[in-house]
Amino acid sequence: MHWQGRTGADDIDDFAAVKETLAGNRHAFERLVVRHQSLIYNILVRMVAEPEVARDLTQDAFLKAFRGLKQFDQKQYKTVRPWLVKIATNSALDHLRRAKSTVSFEQIMSEEPHLEPLSPNDTTSDVERILFVEKLSQALALLPLRYRQAFILRYQYEFSYDEISKAMQENENTVRTLLFRAKERLRKLILNTGKADNVNGL
């Protein structure tokens, strides 16, 4: 299953759902849940790496969104999804702070974590494009959280820079820098692994 892009009609209906919910029709909120729960769940899985936890956090994020719906500013957010992603991201960060992990929260957020290169493979042939996707998926898991999130939002879910900056609460220049660094890291992890045998980390 691959990501199916959204349409402008979805964005319009999102705003309509927000409006109807605020007017007292709580069932209108269900449209937002149905449309965005897959996006939120997948982003959370990439962040916390535990499907069951991601599912719980998805529920938590939508409940927070419902409670905070009055604070949703349509002028600030041109679409609803970056606002939902922001809420989900904050929930995931809270979870990671609380979770007793062998990797500390500071390490997860670190710009320079210890990374092991993936095993070398030639990725030039068509046959190995599938392997490239697999390796990209693995390499993403090794990226610092912010790089990973910026990359996923931009290239998997095709968020605009404006949407990413709203979702990640960063300015657009920072988002560009995060994406540039994410691509550099991925390039090193995936493509330069043949040369990286003698390198301890990146």
């Binding site: 299953m1 691959h2 990501w3 897959s38 409670r67 494009r129 996707v133 993403l140 095709e158 605009s160």
Partner: protein, 164 residues
């Protein structure tokens, strides 16, 4: 890596962004093309060619990254909506209790004032003037102390109600 390569990579990144934005807006990315100077450079620079092809591979691969099915997605939707419906009565209950609490607080103040007047009247009637004055002063000090502490006590109570 030369200065020219750095400049070309910036251009390639800009083109890469255009490709993503074009895809985002549902247009055909095939209409986008590299500037002539970029193409000329790529024809003789292997390093920049690799950079460009990797960019494109990232784009293709990222857009085909597997999307996980939400486990029991219908159940999740129902669970979220049930929590929302169940949770709606809680804020209403909190608001109602806060309203009751506010009226009770006003009632308390009038009770205190009333009791003070009654106490003052009774003390003045049943004892000497000095004793009455001391009693009333003591009571007044206690009352002022209580009123000073009242906002703190009220806030603590309200926090308990909200967290409940």
């Amino acid at each position: 890596m030369s200065m020219v390569c750095n400049k070309i990579k910036e251009d390639l990144d800009a083109l890469f962004d255009q490709i993503v934005d074009t895809s985002l807006s549902g247009q055909d990315a095939a209409n986008l093309s590299l500037p002539a100077d970029c193409q000329a450079h790529l024809s003789h620079c292997q390093n920049c060619r690799d950079y460009h092809s990797t960019n494109l591979m990232f784009f293709e691969a990222a857009s085909t990254l597997p999307v996980l099915e939400v486990p029991r997605s219908d159940a999740l939707t129902n669970s979220i909506m049930q929590s929302i419906i169940a949770g709606e009565s809680a804020p209403q209950a909190v608001a109602a209790s806060a309203k009751t609490y506010g009226s009770e607080a006003k009632y308390d103040i009038w009770l205190l004032v009333g009791s003070f007047i009654a106490f003052g009247a009774m003390s003045a009637y049943g004892s000497s003037l000095d004793d009455s004055f001391c009693n009333i002063t003591s009571w007044l000090i206690s009352l002022l102390l209580l009123l000073a502490l009242k906002p703190i006590i009220e806030n603590a109570d309200k926090e308990e109600v909200v967290s409940a």
